[in-house]
């Protein structure tokens, strides 16, 4: 469904993504992990059209190189940011309605907003200003706004960051439902290994923009190169 071929991104002399290739299949949950500064978020920024790059990215068999972020959304790729990006003085339902209005080419339907609000369970807060939500609320809202664009693929950037065990459980449940009930392909960047091994079917480990290992999470987590790369990081693996 999504295919990166020999993608490289330089920021001046820094090579943030280095000749990376990967392929995500339709319907799967694909995980990406790696140390801080490994280039994970940069990969998202390339796919979603925030930066230019060398190499080729295809979605559903068509190249998406050079498309602007709003065009990529309309192709069916939506994403969240590591830090929730909200519109503080807009209400929850208006924020979701923006994704619904602008993020796709389907005819406008107000019903879509209600469906999404139900799905992410924000009914009680639907009239609240986005700025007043707690972190979990903001995360659910961002996922809701992304879903309102009717994506075929959803890319989540560290959705668990800053959450407690209870919230992690709720978010994992939500991600699973998005994948299974809505049939949306998911890519997830995460530091919590446990989340990745439980959720994903394929796991990619990168360091300094280069692939270390890619495969089934059970194999990947036993790979000596990965263990070395993650040595001393046991403490924050949840």
């Amino acid at each position: 469904m999504l295919k990166l071929s020999n993608v490289t991104k330089r920021f001046g002399s820094l090579v943030a993504v280095n000749d990376l290739s990967l392929e995500v299949e339709k319907g799967q949950i694909y995980g990406i992990a790696g140390p801080n500064g490994a280039g994970k978020s940069t990969i998202y920024n390339l796919i979603t059209g925030f930066y230019s790059y060398e190499g080729k990215i295809e979605f559903e068999g068509k190249p998406i190189n050079g498309l602007r972020p709003y065009q990529i959304v309309k192709r069916g790729i939506s994403r969240t940011f590591q830090i929730p990006q909200t519109f503080p003085s807009l209400s929850v339902e208006d924020s979701i309605d923006i994704g619904n209005r602008f993020g796709n080419t389907a005819a406008y339907s107000r019903k879509r907003v209600d469906e999404v609000i139900d799905f992410v369970n924000l009914n009680r807060e639907r009239k609240h200003k986005t700025g007043t939500l707690d972190l979990l609320g903001k995360k659910k809202l961002m996922i809701g706004a992304a879903l309102a664009t009717r994506p075929k693929m959803l890319m989540l950037d560290e959705p668990m960051a800053g959450s407690n065990a209870h919230e992690i459980k709720a978010l994992m449940e939500l991600i699973r439902r998005i994948n299974q009930e809505l049939g949306i392909t998911i890519i997830i960047i995460e530091h919590f290994m446990k989340v990745l091994t439980e959720l994903t079917e394929t796991l990619l480990i990168i360091e300094t923009g280069t692939e270390i290992c890619c495969g089934h999470p059970a194999e990947v987590t036993n790979d000596p190169a990965v263990i070395e790369c993650y040595l001393g990081r046991e403490d924050d693996q949840g």
Binding site: S78, F87, L90
Partner: protein, 300 residues
């Protein structure tokens, strides 16, 4: 009931008051347009005042060419406002937006709009000459209410700019484009990933602000002259209104605009027109010293 002197005074005062209100309403319109562009694109438009004159000159050309017999100002608005929108849209899309991709885009846009201000001033001088132009009153005559007297021109200016302000507020809160404008102002990255074409919103915002200030130009040029080199002073005035009201506060800007309009009119009436500017400057200094966040600004 009143002595003759008192009646005369009331006559004059009501005239000054409505003049202040009508000026204030135009200032409010201009300040809103300025806040809009800054709030959404984070770039300051130094040529803002020259678009005020552009509105005036476009209207003047139409009146010279057509006279007022074809629908009068209605025709002028129907023709000139879309023209202003087009100029503003093209300006943003072809001149300003290419600069936004550069690293120090804020400075580059500042230089560009400063250059544009200079260019427009000189263009006006070449095309229209340095002699000041004026527009005919939109409506002649006076309205007498008891002891008070109001000119229809002032009433019309007041109503039209208030109408413009209300339409702007309604658009911002109730239309698809207005929703996108608010989203981009609050979080550009967040707006991009829900499918908003922010380049288009920047251009639309710039175009709308050009219409707002140009509309103000058409209205106020009936009372003042169109002066090719007055753009800078007009921009400063819009800026003082914005700073006094509180940067980014729409309500503050509205209140400030009316206070300044009325203050200017009364100072002008009592001390003479040129003192208006001095009063404005004192007000700006006072604001910066006593209440730098402005009347209704959020503060630090």
């Amino acid at each position: 009931m009143f002595s003759e002197d008192t009646v005369l005074l009331l006559y004059e005062m009501s005239d000054v008051l409505i003049a202040g209100l009508s000026n204030g309403s135009v200032y409010a319109l201009m300040a809103l347009g300025m806040t809009l562009v800054y709030g959404v694109t984070k770039a300051f438009n130094f040529a803002y005042g020259d678009f005020f004159n552009m509105g005036g000159y476009f209207a003047w050309m139409l009146i010279i060419g057509l006279g007022l017999q074809f629908g009068g100002y209605v025709t002028i608005f129907i023709v000139v406002l879309p023209m202003l929108f087009g100029v503003g849209y093209a300006m943003e899309k072809f001149l300003i937006s290419p600069l936004r991709k550069r690293a120090d885009w804020e400075n580059r846009i500042m230089m560009l709009t400063l250059g544009l201000a200079l260019f427009l001033t000189n263009l006006y001088m070449v095309v229209f000459g340095v002699k000041l132009k004026s527009l005919p009153a939109i409506l002649d005559g006076i309205l007498e209410v008891g002891e008070f007297v109001f000119s229809y021109q002032d009433i019309m200016i007041f109503c039209l700019s208030l109408g413009g302000i209300l339409l702007f507020g309604w658009t911002l809160n109730n239309t698809r484009t207005g929703m996108a404008v608010r989203a981009v102002a609050q979080n550009p990255a967040g707006a991009k990933i829900v499918g908003i074409n922010i380049g288009r919103i920047f251009a639309a915002t710039f175009a709308i602000s050009t219409v707002m200030v140009g509309f103000g130009g058409i209205l106020l040029s009936q009372k003042l002259f169109i002066n090719p080199s007055s753009g800078g002073a007009i921009m400063v005035k819009a800026w003082v209104v914005t700073a006094f009201g509180g940067m980014g506060s729409i309500r503050g800007g509205l209140v400030a605009a009316f206070i300044i309009g009325i203050m200017e009119a009364f100072v002008g009436w009592i001390f003479g027109m040129s003192y208006g500017i001095i009063a404005l400057f004192i007000l700006l200094l006072g604001t910066l010293i006593i209440r730098p966040q402005g009347l209704m600004g959020k503060g630090e």
